[in-house]
Symmetry: C2
Subunit: 232 residues, 2 copies
């Protein structure tokens, strides 16, 4: 199976890219520049494509973002600290972002004659993001089968859709995926901040997986303190 992988440069999608390169044929990586403040992750996606020796399409969708409102990732709203799976994180939602990016990725896949588009949605995303849930994934694939009928037959490959993020760490560890060459932090400073939703989620995933976390965090103790507080 020839698979085009949507890769943000984050931990999940870099592990997925390596998994595909190991188990299938990787048709290339696609990343989206949507005016995210953590644009740094795009460099990590480029490094991943380079390491795996495949093409890397970075698609600029900032023009689209200008017509979508109400999120902290592209606008001058403070990114909230705390765990990713909290109500406050709703502010990080770009309306319909996943559907838009996947529809574009399917167009690219059709152009590249790929058999599937891969995306690293996982179980930990379900709580806040409806467009990461299995029901969405299935409905999206069905929609695409109809959209491209007679022209292309492209599946949606989501091996982590029922897995917690920690399982991605376990799998990445098995195939020696380069964790240190992945970027999660929403804030985009030199190092991972350690306190934003995705940093907390990242640390937690390594902890649960029992895998050494090679990431350098600016605030090393935020997560530990949060764990302690939760236990009190």
């Amino acid at each position: 199976m020839r698979i085009l992988c949507v890769c943000s440069g984050g931990l999940d999608s870099v592990v997925l890219s390596h998994k595909i390169a190991n188990e299938h044929e990787l048709a290339g990586l696609v990343s989206f520049d949507y005016g995210q403040r953590h644009k740094k992750e795009l460099e990590y996606a480029a490094n991943c494509a380079n390491a795996l020796g495949v093409s890397h399409d970075v698609i600029d969708i900032t023009e689209i973002g200008k017509h979508l409102t109400g999120n902290a990732l592209t606008q001058d709203i403070d990114v909230p600290d705390g765990h990713y799976e909290e109500e406050t994180m709703k502010i990080t939602i770009v309306p319909n972002r996943n559907a838009i990016m996947l529809a574009i990725a399917f167009g690219v896949a059709a152009s590249k004659k790929a058999d599937a588009v891969a995306t690293a949605v996982h179980g930990g995303d379900h709580f806040i993001y409806p467009d990461c849930r299995p029901e969405f994934v299935n409905a999206f694939e069905t929609m695409q089968k109809h959209a491209l009928e007679g022209y292309a037959d492209i599946s949606l490959y989501t091996p982590f859709v029922h897995a917690p993020k920690s399982q991605i760490v376990v799998e990445g560890n098995k195939i020696n995926a380069p964790f240190v060459d992945t970027w999660s932090c929403y804030k985009g400073n030199e190092n991972h901040c350690g306190a934003c939703g995705t940093c907390v989620e990242r640390r937690e995933a390594f902890h649960i997986a029992g895998v050494n976390d090679p990431t350098k965090y600016e605030d090393k103790d935020f997560w530990l303190n949060a764990v302690k507080q939760a236990g009190e």
Copy 2:
């Protein structure tokens, strides 16, 4: 119902915009600049928004188009003459275009708190374009219900999906839609060429509807000759 209408500036979507303004609440128009050679139609969409007194979002997706290949509408391939419903018209397909544009429109609709997105797909589009068929329309709406669950509940309004183009002319005629302020021609010269697929389809629709066609065509006889030849 508050409806955001995808409007290309063509006959179908301008009639649809007027129909919605008459029967519902028109939340605004959305058009896409995908590097089409017949960019002229965007001016017609702007005129339509202006006439109806609503906002007009023109979304530049040319960056996306650069990553999609193999079509005559955005690249230096000759647009074929002849009837729209022919095999040669496959060259006018931008891979996954409708799914991409609709996904973006749903994001805009969520931002504008609209209840529905309208698109003027019609029966005459089915033969070549799978992403204009009822099966696609239904699957797309289902996908969007899942994608936006808990955030927005937006329907896909496609009143012409089972209608021939001639019925759109009949309906437009009833509500005095400004046919002359619509653009169909793929070639984008001063006047409609009269010979390309969409010009032939436009003339045929007025003919079948029995409605006077106010359009000025450069090649007035192409269509008549084609009809004569078909009858021989």
